[in-house]
């Protein structure tokens, strides 16, 4: 069998997978080693990628090849953040922070309307049957939707004293809303289990198909 560099990658991946999963039995040096290798690789990769994908094309190349010399001042703004360590000059760090926070707040404010407004309008649903929507659908979907929406909202309404009459109504409605929230959290947890299992199955699929499977085919060819 001729040497194939791809085999080295497959073996390294398989051993790392088994090494990481060995922690399921108990804490051990192999899983620790795999963790440290992973953290080191990630950090090294992050540093390299920050230069090649970010600083080189967005900052260095414009200065050196395109003659856009004014980009020299970009790191100056960035370095202002480090004045946070100086009691006397920390106001310089606040300048940089203000710039970034202002930009982020402006963008968030701009994005709020397209994100939330359609949600508000879609919560107004017909509560009576129409020629296109039959009663069972209206009761199952729209009524249930509105009840869940109002009870969950009432759970987060804290501006009325609980001992008053409206407060008692809100309290009961909020209890129901709490149950609906618990059901939603249960669904979320179920999805989390499903996601984690998919990742596990993906790894086992790799081990059986790409790692052991590779030699299985090779062995079958040898035996034929």
């Amino acid at each position: 069998m001729a040497f194939n560099p791809h085999i080295v990658v497959i073996w390294a991946t398989a051993l790392a997978t088994l090494g990481v999963y060995s922690v399921l039995y108990r804490e051990n040096p192999v899983s620790r080693l795999c963790e440290h290798i992973f953290v080191g690789l990630s950090l090294g990769y992050l540093l390299a990628i920050t230069w090649t994908e970010n600083l080189l094309p967005k900052w260095w190349s414009p200065i050196v090849t395109d003659g856009q010399w004014y980009w020299i001042f970009a790191p100056v703004v960035g370095f202002l953040f480090y004045f946070i360590y100086s009691r006397r000059l920390s106001w310089l760090a606040r300048l940089a922070m203000g710039l970034f926070i202002g930009t982020a707040a402006g963008q968030s404010f701009r994005g709020l309307y397209p994100l939330l407004w359609p949600q508000v309008t879609s919560s107004f649903k017909p509560l009576r049957a129409t020629p296109s929507v039959a009663w069972p659908n209206v009761i199952l979907h729209n009524w249930l939707f509105v009840i869940v929406l109002l009870t969950v909202l009432s759970y987060f309404f804290f501006s009325v004293r609980p001992e008053t009459k409206p407060g008692r109504v809100l309290s009961r409605s909020g209890s129901l809303g709490r149950w609906f929230l618990m059901i939603a959290f249960g669904a979320m947890f179920g999805n989390t289990v499903m996601a984690r299992l998919s990742l596990f199955i993906g790894r086992v699929q790799f081990l059986l198909h790409d790692w052991i499977g590779h030699y299985w085919h090779w062995l079958a060819q040898k035996m034929m």
Binding site: L24, E53, N54, P114, L115, P118, M194, F200, I201, R203
Partner: protein, 280 residues
Amino acid sequence: MSETPSTGFWQRLEQIPRAYIYLLLAVVVIWQLVFPIRFEMSPSPSSKGVYDAIRAAPADKLIILSADWDASTEAETGPQTTAIMRAILSGKKKFAILNLVSPAGVKLADARAVAVAKEYNATRGLDWCNWGYKVGTSNVIIGLTKNIPGTVKSDSAGTPVGKIPMMAQVHDARDIGLVIEISGSAMTEYWIQFFQGVSGTPLANAITAVMAPGYYSYLDSKQLQGMLVGAKGAAELENLEGRPDRAMRIMDVQSWAHLLILLLVVVGNLGYLLSRRGNR
């Protein structure tokens, strides 16, 4: 402390060592990968929405695949990406891959595109291209609505956009027929806020199952045309395409693993209830 024998047994059921549970799960997964027993699958409305959105996208417009994933979620997002690429190319449409979150994911999505393109005799630069990783998330998306060549500038290999034939007629959001966000992070909100909500371009997403519950409201409000939920969504799209592949195999295995987990939950709770009764 005196215990009746039956109480001890139920208490032991409640406290099965986790190593045994993992081992049992591994045995079930390996058994089903080697000797699969197939479950019937019917596509959910959210997966059908993605399929219909791809079918409805005009052939003369580009589909953006924002493949914002890397190796950590590949078991779910990888098959999703492959299934989506197949659905696009089988409908004779064009796509561009973009990555706004994880530079490590660019090559992974690229490898899948190369493999799928081979199946459909699709050519890089004519039927699909890879814009690569772009820094700036929301600023990049805002830029794409107004000036795609100016924002993208070059593809992942450094080829200027002007030299990519399929990009000749792509100028701004009006030339985009559909955006599909594939990720395990909250990138869909960015696309809604700064692209779909501004330009009205249809948007769909393919996300990890953990993320799914938070996005059903966007389906209800029609901000999303469809949604692929984890490996299940990928399997459903493979099913709709009539091309069973890795995701469908994952789901067969997963169904058995879920049955085992349900059984263990029942056994654990039964043990808890009966041991409590025994203690009274």
